[in-house]
Symmetry: C2
Subunit: 239 residues, 2 copies
DNA sequence: CCTCAAGACGAACGGCGTTCGTGGCAAACA
DNA sequence: TGTTTGCCACGAACGCCGTTCGTCTTGAGG
């Protein structure tokens, strides 16, 4: 049945407010919500469009392509992170806290951190964070050449960790189990696998299976971070 | 025109050797060749099949899915890497050399190293390398708990670096320029970008733009590696 | 009231990983 | 030797994906 033409005496109220106008902000926000809820791999232009009750082609008026959308989401998340003003005596702690905050904020938005591995981020907030870490290290006495590369390596550490973390969450998501039993299951499986390797070829792996498998993602990250900072610290006194 | 039936007096020689029988090895080798030539993103099941003069469905008799194919290629490349028997006095140098060899071998096969970021590798050669590094560190006096996590972090470092490297090569590939001019161009562009940031908000980035941009991928990798090893070394004496 | 640029969007293109069902062939069995 | 049986090859298709083209709508400026 075809819709009748509206009676002319009824004021045709504009049906606009039902569908809030499409803007870049709205698109980025929607993308961020999807990544946070279902992970980076689940983000597609089509899904963003669907969530906004439109077709995928409509997005391209506000966003150049998927890559740009990802960078915009990434930048939006980075905005949550603050960097302290340098206190030279406390440079190591400040650096540690800053990177841990990055790690924590990024991981609280799914695996969005992976983005900085696929594109070299150049947005305002990436620059702000880079500037902040560089300042902390240089004021703390880290040689500038070292500090510059350290910024790069620390960013990589955070990003790679987000990637690794995304593996487990995606596997867990598709397994249907709740997080705790899944993690427990996986741990015991991997530990068993290592422990049952042929001990004559793998004496160390079989012996230290627990040490390989047990530490949580957070412990691993902190330890890797501390190793890096310790390495930096070794260059402060002698220079 | 339909082919005539072959005259019965001609010995019908089996046309087999023209198309060497499909095996897993052949598939993996072909995949490895494609990754080495065009990069990981260019590898598709369809392309492998095409290179073998068949359809994509044929591959699934020998390989469970794309992920398994990637792991098999990765394992095949790892086979080229040897790990030395531990000499406790030289643990740091041995570790450094081993990781550098990993980095170098993996990078000589395109960006195949990225695979270990997307799946936790569990193949024979991954185990062999893990065992080797663990042995070197523990015999050198690194506390086992630390050594176990270090294996993980070092693997991540190599993988993430392969990922980062793949960005530049893919961009360079699509730009059509030769490697050197592309790298030179990109360096000056990034350095200019950093140097021309508003200096009151970014005093350090503008001042140390050269230090941020100049070091080559190889220098960055070695430096990050050395920082990690230095961090490890700090734990050897005191334990 | 007309013009015209910009946003919205349906449809389609070419690609992807994977599955289904069929067909043929060679080895195992009778 | 004749028959069965199980495996491998493969064409076709499904349901995704990012992106583009051309058309339509709409609202602001002249």
């Amino acid at each position: 049945m075809e819709p009748l033409p509206a009676p002319p005496w009824r004021k045709t109220r504009t049906p606009k407010p039902v569908k809030p106008q499409l803007t870049q902000d709205l698109i980025v926000e929607t993308g961020q919500r999807i990544v946070g809820r279902e992970g980076l791999d689940a983000l597609s232009m089509r899904k963003v469009a669907q969530e906004l009750d439109t077709g995928p082609a409509s997005l391209y008026a506000h966003v150049a392509n998927k890559e740009e959308l990802l960078e915009l989401i990434y930048e939006r998340v980075l905005a949550e992170i603050e960097v302290p003003a340098p206190e030279p005596e406390r440079w190591a702690e400040q650096l540690r806290e800053t990177v841990l905050t990055m790690h924590q904020v990024l991981n609280s938005h799914g695996d969005i951190g992976r983005v900085s591995l696929a594109n070299v981020p150049m947005g305002a907030n990436s620059m702000r964070l880079g500037e902040g870490m560089l300042a902390i290290m240089i004021e703390g006495g880290v040689p500038p050449r070292l500090a510059a590369i350290a910024v790069d390596r620390l960013g990589m550490l955070v990003a790679a960790d987000a990637y690794e973390g995304s593996l487990y969450t995606s596997q867990q998501r598709s397994s249907g189990m709740d997080v705790e039993t899944f993690v427990a299951d996986m741990f015991t499986q991997m530990e068993d696998y290592l422990r049952n390797l042929p001990p004559e070829r793998f004496p160390y792996l079989t012996r230290y299976a627990a040490e390989m498998v047990r530490p949580s993602g957070e412990e691993r990250f902190e330890l890797g971070l501390d190793l890096l900072i310790a390495g930096l610290a070794a260059h402060v006194r002698s220079d």
